[in-house]
């Protein structure tokens, strides 16, 4: 059980900077999700913790130990790979037993030593029980389903009882139903094990549902780190605003107006009142953002045209044209009424729900 800390960590591959001076404190026993689109550097960051990539610059610590120069095989971490990377020529039992055979372990506060055959068997049995693998122990990975293989990969990781678990998109090869089920199980497993988990994904649903905290990366840089709800409610910049949320946040270019009535943004369909702007500047080029569930159809300052309506059962997504920009309104009203394609409508947003970003720096302004 240990914390992981990145202190100005940079990773370069030739001229390409994969991770750009990343500073991030992962707290002991935390479920930290590294989230970002492909190529954002999240996997590289994870592989540096694992020791599969060297650190070009900066300091990486696991617990209090600087691990920059410690080899992967000597770090107390376990990893679950996207492809699971099970040894295909070994049975499930042998797969799970491998890390117990190769490493030394401290038992009852004695100095680390190799485990005896009985101790290994006991640990494999315990782990198999935790993950419901008892019946599969003598099968080979080729004879398992995707979900079962994923469990074996998890078993091979937790049998070690390592300081830190690393998971690289472990759910991406599962079908949607199994993925949803495994998400819940992983959260339960984390609660049981009380170990630090660093989890890499490009799927914001995984991040939002499992993480204690989310670190969002783009182009090798940390964009924002915080609890899922905080990141959702107060995205630090335009990238985070657009990346988190499904359907994504509506963003409209506009100009900030400041007068005696307050601060508002002139956007193509009309004016939009905003709150809490740090330094109101009249005429400043901005991007206003409103989440689809915070836009409502009815009375409002914005005029728009309905282009299409998607009905999803529990809600409707109304696609509107707002002075040339497409925006989505998430309508959860019951009943068959509501807007139809071609309707002229008025849209409203509560001032407290309007996010304001600088058009040049993309940083949050309110």
């Amino acid at each position: 059980m240990s914390a992981v800390s990145f202190d100005g960590v940079t990773k370069r591959f030739g001229d390409v900077v994969a991770v750009d001076s990343l500073s991030l404190e992962i707290i002991d026993q935390e479920f930290m999700v590294l989230l970002g689109p492909s190529g954002c550097g999240k996997s590289t960051a994870l592989r540096m913790i694992a020791g599969l990539e060297t650190v070009s610059d900066g300091t990486l610590r696991i617990g209090d130990v600087v691990v920059n120069d410690i080899e992967a095989k000597d770090r107390d971490i376990a990893m679950v790979f996207q492809s699971y990377a099970l040894y295909p020529h070994m049975t499930v039992r042998q797969n799970v037993e491998v890390p117990l055979k190769t490493r030394s372990y401290a038992v009852d506060d004695e100095p680390p030593r190799k485990l005896t055959k009985d101790e290994r068997d006991e640990r494999v049995r315990e782990t198999a029980q935790t993950l419901g693998l008892e019946a599969l122990l003598d099968r080979k990975p080729g004879a398992l389903s995707g979900g079962q293989r994923q469990r074996v990969a998890l078993a091979r990781a937790i049998v070690r009882r390592p300081e830190v678990f690393l998971m690289d998109e472990p759910l991406s090869n599962l079908d949607a139903k199994l993925r949803a089920q495994t998400r819940v199980e992983l959260v339960e497993l984390h609660r049981q094990l009380q170990t630090t988990i660093v989890y890499v994904t490009h799927d914001q649903v995984e991040a939002m549902t499992m993480a204690d905290r989310v670190a969002i990366l783009s182009d090798g840089r940390l964009q924002q780190v915080g609890e899922p709800q905080a990141v959702y409610e107060r995205p630090a910049n335009l990238f985070v605003a657009r990346f988190i949320g499904s359907p994504p946040m509506n963003t409209v270019d506009g100009t900030m107006r400041v007068d005696s009535t307050g601060v508002r943004v002139e956007v193509p369909g009309g004016p939009l009142a905003v709150e809490g702007v740090d330094t109101p500047t009249d005429g400043h080029a901005v991007v206003a953002g409103v989440r689809p569930e915070h836009l409502s159809i009815g009375d409002g300052p914005l005029s728009a045209t309905v282009r299409a309506v998607e009905w999803l059962g529990h809600e409707r997504h109304v696609y509107c044209d707002l002075g040339g920009t497409s925006v989505i309104v998430r309508d959860t009203e019951d009943g068959g009424g509501g807007a139809r394609a071609g309707d002229e409508v008025r849209l409203a947003a509560a001032p407290g729900e309007v996010h304001l970003f600088d058009a040049n720096t993309s940083e949050r302004l309110n």
Partner: protein
């Protein structure tokens, strides 16, 4: 089609209740499919017949006869010739030398090829040049390889000034050297292809599981290479059983017959007009080679892991 029908008949009772199946339809269809299958198979059957089945049959047939020196006449001698020759000293001596040759070339060639491939299987600039160099012996003819080694181990002008080829104890080893070298290209290509098919994540997982490079090699790499290694064991063994040109060029069976393998004996016998005796030996060699290859498959296949089975 038939399997589906069978699967649908779980008990005899159920069978009794069923209406009579439309047999004629299926039979007609099966006949038509069989005809089509035969048509597809015809080209390979033809080629195999002309170049494989007929010659084998012919050799077995010739083994029942004895020819005169000028091959103008032959007489039937039957199974006696098979019995005599296959239990005779000439055949068993040849077999022992052949087996020694297999033992000298196959393990050494395999180990060297794997070492070379493992050494060359890394991401370095210009490594492809080395791949090409290591693989190049595959494009060398046996004759060229033999001449190269003839010069290399020449006692007066050679690089290794040794007189192995005229030493009854060392001659077979000298010949084996050139074969090992010549087969190295093939071994290298097969093994490096096998290495490159091992997913990188498997090695990474092994590293994270705490394995050092040596342990990783024996726990992950070698088992993953097993299909390639099985193939190579069989092929190299068959190559060794069939070796002829290198012996002909390097030692001509000498000194004192110490490099006369079965193939070489067959050749000299048939050159001398003893077609029948040579044929018997050839049949003997065929059976032994076939049995060896089959035995290797049966024995080693159990320990071979094919593919990852990943979806």
């Amino acid at each position: 089609m038939t399997r589906a029908t069978e699967a649908a008949t779980p008990t005899d009772a159920a069978l009794d209740d069923r209406p009579e199946p439309k047999k004629s339809f299926f039979r007609r269809r099966r006949t038509r499919e069989a005809g089509l299958a035969a048509l597809f198979l015809a080209p390979s059957v033809l080629i195999f017949s002309a170049f494989f089945f007929y010659p084998i049959g012919r050799i077995v047939y010739l083994g029942f006869f004895q020819q005169n020196q000028t091959r103008t006449r032959q007489r039937y001698v039957g199974f006696d010739q098979y019995r005599e020759i296959l239990t005779g000293n000439e055949f068993t001596d040849g077999l022992v030398i052949t087996l020694k040759y297999v033992a000298l070339t196959v393990p050494a060639g395999l180990v060297l090829g794997v070492l070379l491939a493992v050494a060359a299987n890394r991401k370095l600039k210009g490594i492809k040049v080395f791949h090409a160099i290591f693989a190049s012996t595959v494009a060398t003819s046996v004759a060229v390889a033999s001449i190269v080694w003839l010069v290399l181990i020449n006692p007066t002008v050679g690089y290794f000034k040794v007189d192995w080829l005229r030493d009854t104890d060392m001659a077979l080893f000298g010949v084996a050297l050139s074969s090992i070298w010549q087969n190295l290209g093939l071994t290298f290509i097969i093994v490096i292809a096998g290495l490159q098919a091992i997913p990188e994540e498997l090695n990474e997982a092994a590293t994270i599981d705490g394995m050092g490079p040596v342990r990783r090699f024996f726990t992950v790499t070698l088992p993953m290479l097993s299909p390639a290694l099985l193939f190579l064991v069989v092929v190299l063994t068959v190559f060794a059983f069939q070796a002829f040109a290198q012996i002909d060029i390097l030692t001509d069976g000498g000194p004192a017959g110490s490099t006369e393998t079965l193939v070489f004996k067959i050749f000299t016998l048939q050159q001398g007009g003893a077609i029948g005796e040579g044929s018997v030996m050839a049949v003997g060699l065929f059976v032994i080679t076939f049995a060896a290859a089959l035995g290797q498959f049966v024995l080693l296949e159990r320990r071979v892991h094919y593919g990852s089975g990943e979806a």
